[in-house]
Amino acid sequence: MPKIYKGNIIENKPIGGLFLLTVSIEEEISVNPGQFFLIRIDREDIVLRRAFSIFDVNGDRLSFLYRVVGRGTKWLSERRVGYTLNIFGPLGNGFSLCQGKSLLVGGGSGMAPLYYLGKRLREGIKFLLGAQTKDFWDDDLLLKYSNVGEIEVITEDGSLGKKGLVTEYIDTGYDRIYACGPVEMLKNIRVDIPTEISLETIIACGFGACRGCVVETKNGEYKRVCKDGPVFDLKEIF
């Protein structure tokens, strides 16, 4: 059951083109990979919380890997160690944890939820991570992922790993694909393997009540990203 926690900042530092935030909530809780938390932005001019999928869980510590995209994430990136954040979660459904060989495809900051997913799947996993350029990652970040599973990186400019888009490098030797990233990337996953995708959108209530975050499914229904998702079967959406 989701709850409101006081999240005392342990670290909040740039890591490549992203930020890594770790908070202590002084309680050990169970979080499914792919679930998310809503962090309150303590400014009067910002009414919505910001949604972050879980990057890692260690005892009473929750970590989030995020990109600064606007006023809310900029404010967050300026919070220092010791600041207490108001954190609500865990929310949403999360990925299913299936046996077998899995390919974890992350585009840009969409790599965030895949780390904890990889840790929980433990075996038979490969990360396929894409970014525009090598500066998006730093060595520490890539090392973290490679400690969990095999890793292949793709950059659009070819500055690290193979050149191009991650979707050009998805092969079929897997039982399942888990993917998170821009909509264009998710749309272009065209292999016939069961694929779970995690969607990103603006979230208001976070628990399925307000109907603000709906996504249109292929058969014309509206599903709530925050409650029915954020993880969906690829075929249900695209």
């Binding site: 001019d45 209530c205 009540a209």
Partner: protein, 270 residues
């Protein structure tokens, strides 16, 4: 100390506004009614409505634009919420909207039989549904209110849109037989989506409108618009509101009602 809303005793003057918390199933699974005096579920219509296509929400500086489009499963599925509404330790007021006078009467007739619903908030002002914004026309407000009054014996609150010269729109609701007014619904706005603006940004406008009617209208009012703190609640209570609705602030703090109520108690005791 109890708070009176047209004869209904409320534990607090804080009301969960219709919309943000949906019909309550998800919210009350996680949170209690602490701090709340009244719950108004999201608007129900006679027939199901799929709502507007996404994107439905967009943030502004100090505000939020929404365009949900009255998504709901229709009155017959809504009736299945009875066990939840009976289980709450606060009263529940239904929120209804209709696209015709006939729909409004039919909804009123059905809800008139429900002993677990203390009243109806008649939503005449959803800014996000084409052709159903009764609030723009004083005569439509009169007709809609009168249609409901004819079939509904309990409390009616008409929820109006924020407009210049508010008395012009309030008068016909009173003439139509309403017991009270919810002032006001969200403010029509646009950024990349068209919708209703809520949040801090609208409060000064709504305070101004309430000041305009303060000495001209004598009817119970539930004030609404940008309530995030106890001082916001006091501002509306001091302008004559009987109760104050909280909406968008639930997104910032799902436990906002409890927080405000604790804060308010400090003010009220001093």
């Amino acid at each position: 100390m109890g708070w009176d809303l047209c004869g209904i005793e409320l534990k607090t003057p804080l009301v969960a506004a219709s919309g943000p918390l949906g019909w309550g199933e998800e919210f009350f699974e996680i949170f209690s009614t602490k701090g709340l005096g009244l719950f108004i579920p999201k608007t129900v219509t006679f027939n199901p409505k799929i709502g507007n296509p996404p994107p439905r929400i967009e943030e502004t500086i100090g505000g939020l634009i929404n365009s949900i489009g009255l998504e709901n499963d229709g009155i017959y599925k809504w009736l299945k919420l009875e066990p939840l509404y009976r289980s709450l330790d606060i009263p529940v007021m239904a929120s209804i909207a209709g696209s015709t006078l006939d729909e409004i009467s039919r909804l009123g007739e059905i809800i008139n039989n429900l002993d677990y619903i203390v009243g109806i908030e008649l939503n005449l002002s959803c800014p996000n549904v084409k052709g159903e914004n009764w609030s723009n026309n004083p005569n439509s407000i009169f007709e809609a209110t009168e249609s409901l009054r004819k079939v509904y014996n309990k409390l009616i609150f008409v929820k109006l849109a924020p407009k210049d010269n508010p008395v012009l729109y309030i008068k016909p609701a009173i003439d139509g037989g309403t017991d009270g007014l919810t002032l006001f619904n969200t403010f029509p706005a646009s950024r990349t989506i068209n919708g209703g603006l809520s949040g801090y940004a609208i409060r000064p406008i709504y305070v101004r409108l309430l000041k305009e009617i303060k000495d001209k209208i004598n009817i119970p009012i539930m004030a609404s618009g940008g309530v995030f703190s106890a001082s916001d609640v006091l501002e509306y209570l001091n302008l004559g509101a009987s109760a104050v609705q909280i909406g968008t602030a639930f997104f910032k703090d799902p436990d906002i009602a409890e927080k405000i109520w604790n804060e308010l108690n400090v003010f009220l005791k001093s």
